[in-house]
Symmetry: C2
Subunit: 396 residues, 2 copies
Amino acid sequence: MSVSIIGTSHSKFGRLEDKTIYDLILEAGRGALADSGLTGEDIDAVFFANYGSMDFNNQSHLGPFMVEIDPGLRFKPCVRVEGACASGSVAVYEAIKGIESGRYKNVLVVGAEKMTSLNGKGVTATLAKASYMPLEGEHGYTFPGLYAELGKGYMAHFGISEEELADTLARISVKAHTNAMQNPLAQMQNGSNMEYALHVSDKNPMVAYPLKLSDCSLVSDGGAAVVLTTTERAKELKDKVVEISAISMMCDHISIVEGKRHNWEHEAIRRAFNKCLDETGLTLADINLAEVHDCFTINELVIYEALGLTEPGKGREAVLDGSVFLGGRLPVNTSGGLKAKGHPVGATGVSMHVLAAKQLMGEAIGAQVEGAQNAVTVNVGGSGGTNVISILRRVK
Amino acid sequence: MSVSIIGTSHSKFGRLEDKTIYDLILEAGRGALADSGLTGEDIDAVFFANYGSMDFNNQSHLGPFMVEIDPGLRFKPCVRVEGACASGSVAVYEAIKGIESGRYKNVLVVGAEKMTSLNGKGVTATLAKASYMPLEGEHGYTFPGLYAELGKGYMAHFGISEEELADTLARISVKAHTNAMQNPLAQMQNGSNMEYALHVSDKNPMVAYPLKLSDCSLVSDGGAAVVLTTTERAKELKDKVVEISAISMMCDHISIVEGKRHNWEHEAIRRAFNKCLDETGLTLADINLAEVHDCFTINELVIYEALGLTEPGKGREAVLDGSVFLGGRLPVNTSGGLKAKGHPVGATGVSMHVLAAKQLMGEAIGAQVEGAQNAVTVNVGGSGGTNVISILRRVK
């Protein structure tokens, strides 16, 4: 059973002062429904992705709030899933299984997060609850600190110098900001430059060595949604059809500091991506673009290696030879990524699927990768505990 | 594709001072795995049900923590779902779809909640986040207040007197406590009596008119788990097999005070139960016992009517004629229910499935309903926004 995307919506990401979590949900859900041409009556189930509304918005149990998107959704199953910053792709994954089970024909997936409501106070503490608190959060680790562990582990394991890593990460950061300048929905559209991103300064402080502010993604509000159906039905309904040809979810030990998994690589991403390749019969060379989880620039670097774009420890090569830039062999985060597009955590995975689908339809939100046929999305929760990889393919 | 239960576990419910949320998860998961005879390697996915660990335990993103249950679970998909107090049954529902999709053969479902860690402070506020905050929680409604709306709506719509309702609810409360005396895992095992439950007193204050303390369920710690597989495989593996013959999830408007749904009945439960009956070909007369969501005694009463045990507004008859008592035509909450067994919210739906399955195996946790062949579980999230109904059947 093959599943395709027949409707998408994507809000502006950023500090959206006049939008509540409820607004973000309703707009995303109604937008994708309208884009699909279906009504609420046609939808058999809704999946909602959100990480922290219990803290951020003093509101949980938002599954049934999906009923407010459209009167036709009353008495439908509406399930909230949470997988930290991978919640969005987990929702897509569950939705696909729902269609594969034969229970559903058409499914709506909504991801939304309203993070700026705390006005900066406590956002980091709320996010830290996605770490393993007894060994991480309770010892003062926040996510910059946990991804700093990945950075330090990467340098130590592969013998990468501080200077070399800083240069690589700065290039990844500048790439994100440069790409975001073409994305009207991106949170940061003013660009960046190596002079800023490479050096510690008042405006670019060291947040958690070796990660500077320029290596960190954003605190954002935003929503995104997709409508899914069988590929067979999608081809009847739409002129352009993008299939989710494979999706794989793999969990690993929640803690990166405990030592049960390596702090220099993402083995679960490598395995999950290879599973997707096996299922589709594709190779990396067939993939034309990637939207990956650059919550911190070091993570994008390590993901290059998990995807097999370079040998382990050699991710820098993909930056230096231009592979991951627009026009390269695998443009990564043409949207600006979490770094510059923004990272409303529950929406991020759904956003990745929207962005990849729009690229493959030739209707990119931002810079278009011409003639792209296949895309990959890589969505990570926590420091690598939850990992969801999708391969999307234009099939009509 | 039919799905059956091949392993169960159920912790003691109560104030478990020496158990963390992590302990509850590991014990429940390992217990069900051991009972199934399978290993982690055999399990294709884990679903985890929890409502409020972000608040209660300062920990979210517990999906990947499932990997700690067994080394064989590493790199498997582990999904946390949240549907307030129906989270446990939502997890069972998602697990069944996973098997129906063909992606999974064997699935572990774990539900756990550690509520007493807040020492009473803020538990009600955290639970209130399952209401619709803008119209309910933010106006001071807590769940006793919201179910009081159901009580008042019920009296007004059906013309039930205060005295009559109080008498009915007291009888339901005493039944729960009496049944719990036989359940070694129940939180409250000292029984109750009509003299106490019928009257407002220092020990039984009015919490939210018309609900007294004796009408309210408990704040509890606890965990429960099941292992599911295809019925075909279950029959090969086990001497006694209980199938989940039908499961239906229906969401309704999250708010009970907004007026978009009736405050005197649960239409979604009625619809979902009828869907389950249609799918199984059974009638209510074929069901031998029920575990239902008596978060407040008024809810149990309204559920009798949603199940068709009596006409709407006549639920009292099922109490007075003994139908819902042990030995009656449909014993309800033989375990003691949420009222006396305890209500660790994320575990509750899984607990219901464990209790029903053990009854049908003739190995009841608590009083045995002799010769029971079919059971129904009714799990509710919020004030009726999320509703999941299962029919379980002994098939071997």
